[in-house]
């Protein structure tokens, strides 16, 4: 097991380095010269050259990349002399537009994004699994059809449309909810909950639809399994047959895609955060894209990639814990 973990972790590191290299190259090639952006109004070619030299932008790609990697682990400074800015480890880059290291910008906003992701995840797991289970057990009835129609609409309605409609109905028309505010749980729990409720619902809706359909299909398949027939032949009550023998095998694959989806969300829900004006990683990214703040975009890309890659490993570990067949081949 230890050897397996070691192998997986070395794989993770390798992938992350490759992702770094790829992202770095793409931004190096594609994005506008940061020196031009920094240069400002009284710009002239001479000044640009000075900035470039100062930031090391005239170095070859590979040198810049190793400097970047070094910054990740040991921190670095941008420029020399008086105008130099410090970027402490882990340095994901420095936003000259915000005059702040990217890492700081992300960590300030990450708690908000995590709140959005966790709340939405709870909602979509509940709704998805319950909806799928109802659909499977009441297959062909109005319950089933209803659940699946809702699921289909969740998949087909773009979530910014849903977000705007929801906001208009609940906040403007019915006035059931206040406009989302930036409060913490400790400050005002009620307002906190009300502020996050809509983003949770909007995000959860699309995911819940996928999960409901998956759960339904898996449960229906599992109920056809011979071991379910065995469980019934033992005289087990219907509830036990379903919970123990149908639900557990049916939900194991759901658990694995959940890990990936959740990890992906930690990189920020761009549209939802932007629509509701939630100051999380997603909105920050959307804004950064708007004003072409390259270091921020790159930093978030790397972080999101890291979440997904690490999430993948966690999912595999959870899967080994859930499915004894895998567990024993690994051990």
């Amino acid at each position: 097991m230890a050897r397996y973990l070691l192998a997986r972790l070395s794989g993770v590191v390798l992938i992350l380095v490759l992702v770094c290299l790829f992202t770095f190259t793409v931004f190096f090639v594609l994005s506008p010269d940061p020196a031009v952006q920094i240069c400002g109004k009284n710009c002239n070619p001479e000044l640009i050259e000075r900035i470039r030299g100062n930031l090391g932008l005239d170095e070859p790609l590979f040198t810049q990349f190793t400097t970047f990697l070094g910054g990740l682990f040991a921190g670095r400074a941008y420029g020399t002399g008086e105008g130099a800015v410090e970027c402490a480890a882990p340095c994901l880059g420095y936003s000259f537009q915000s005059s702040q290291p990217v890492w700081e910008m992300i960590t300030e906003r990450l708690p908000v994004t995590v709140t959005v992701a966790v709340g939405a995840a709870v909602l979509w797991l509940l709704a998805g699994v319950v909806g799928g289970l109802v659909g499977a057990l009441r297959q062909g009835t109005w319950w089933d059809r209803g659940a699946m129609v809702i699921a289909l609409s969740g998949l087909s309605i773009p979530n910014y449309v849903f977000a705007l409609v929801l906001q208009y109905v609940l906040v403007v028309e019915l006035e059931w909810l206040p406009f989302p505010q930036a409060v913490t749980l400790a400050d005002d729990p009620a307002l906190w909950f009300q502020s996050y409720l809509m983003p949770w619902i909007v995000l959860a809706f699309a995911y819940a639809s996928v999960y409901a359909r998956l759960t339904r299909a898996n449960v229906i398949d599992t109920l056809e399994e011979n071991f379910v027939r065995t469980a019934r032949a033992k005289g087990l009550p219907r509830g036990q047959v379903i919970r123990r023998h149908a639900l557990r095998p049916a939900l194991t694959p759901v658990a694995t895609i959940f890990g990936m989806d959740f990890a992906g969300l930690l990189g920020g829900a761009l549209i939802t955060e932007k629509v509701f004006g939630i100051n999380g990683v997603g909105k920050m990214t959307a804004d950064a894209i708007g004003r072409n703040d390259q270091p921020v975009i790159m930093g978030v890309t790397l972080l999101a990639a890291a979440f997904v890659v690490v999430g993948n490993v966690v999912v595999d570990l959870v899967y080994t814990a859930l499915d004894p067949r895998v567990r024993l081949t690994v051990a």
Partner: protein
């Protein structure tokens, strides 16, 4: 039979499989040796049966001999030529001589293709012309395997298990092979249908001089069909010889265990039944 040269020869066949399941970053994955040094000789017009239990390596051996699977070591020769590493057109030529009939007739026939398309496919793949046109060719072929020639435009699902297996046999015969490898070809069939297919295989051999490499776990079926028998156990041939020698006086301990395990109807019941049957036939 030993005075003629064998059609299909295998020498020192070995096949290893890397087991699934992840080993560590530096660990070697465990390897399973499914076939471990098997020699076979199949002579013209004979049936050589390969028997054994699951995991004995008999099916893997069949696939190696049919070149459906590459060998880890050893050679396969057909009509005196080494075909072990043949590819492309040369492999096609080998396939014209050696065909396979599989166990599950339905899953080995494409459900969306008509019988005509299924049985002419091997010729099409090999880029050969269908002699006399597809329709006439298919009709003749179906007649040979005891199916209604008018059914050549039907789909596999419209046939029973026994009929579907006949289509599988027809497909194998389409290229005019000398050797047919039957991989548990009658195992999935009901007793009565099984008897029909066994009789068909026998008739084809009698009339056309086919050679069969017959893979089976059912010893009673093998006894009805085989001229010679090779018993496989854990990847090796533990005993081989003429059918009556292997069944009548098995030498290897494993063969004896295998034979002893076959359920039997009591001989006295059988004798009584046969006596009554003869009586009935005599009076009829």
């Amino acid at each position: 039979m030993t005075d003629t040269a064998p059609l299909l020869t295998a020498r020192g066949l070995v096949r290893e499989f890397t087991l699934r399941g992840r080993a560590g970053a530096f660990g070697r994955r465990p390897v399973l040796r499914a076939v471990d040094g098997v020699d076979l000789d199949l002579y013209p017009g004979e049936t050589l049966a390969l028997v054994g239990e699951s995991g004995s390596g008999k099916s893997t051996t069949a696939r190696l001999a049919a070149r459906l699977l590459d060998t880890s070591a050893g050679t396969v020769e057909f009509e005196g030529e080494d075909v072990t590493r043949r590819t492309g057109a040369a492999l096609h030529r080998f396939r014209s001589g050696v065909q396979v009939v599989f166990q599950d007739p339905y899953s080995s026939l494409n459900p969306r293709h008509t019988v005509e398309r299924i049985v002419t496919a091997p010729l099409t793949y090999q880029g050969r012309e269908v002699p006399g046109g597809a329709r006439a060719f298919t009709r003749a072929l179906l007649e040979r395997v005891g199916l209604d020639p008018d059914h050549s435009t039907r789909y596999p699902a419209q046939f029973s298990g026994g009929q579907a297996q006949r289509i599988g046999i027809a497909r194998a015969l389409a290229v005019g092979p000398k050797v047919v490898i039957c991989d548990e070809a009658v195992s999935a069939l009901d007793v009565s249908v099984q008897a029909q297919v066994i009789n068909l295989l026998r008739r084809l051999q009698r009339e056309e001089g086919l050679s069969y490499l017959f893979i089976a776990h059912d010893l009673a079926v093998v006894r009805q069909l085989a001229d010679r028998v090779a018993v496989m156990h854990q990847g090796k041939v533990v005993e081989s010889g003429d059918r009556d020698a292997v069944f009548g006086a098995p030498e290897h301990e494993y063969t004896r265990t295998l034979l002893a395990a076959v359920p039997r109807i009591r001989p006295e019941w059988e004798a009584a039944r046969r006596a009554r049957q003869r009586e009935r036939e005599a009076t009829a």
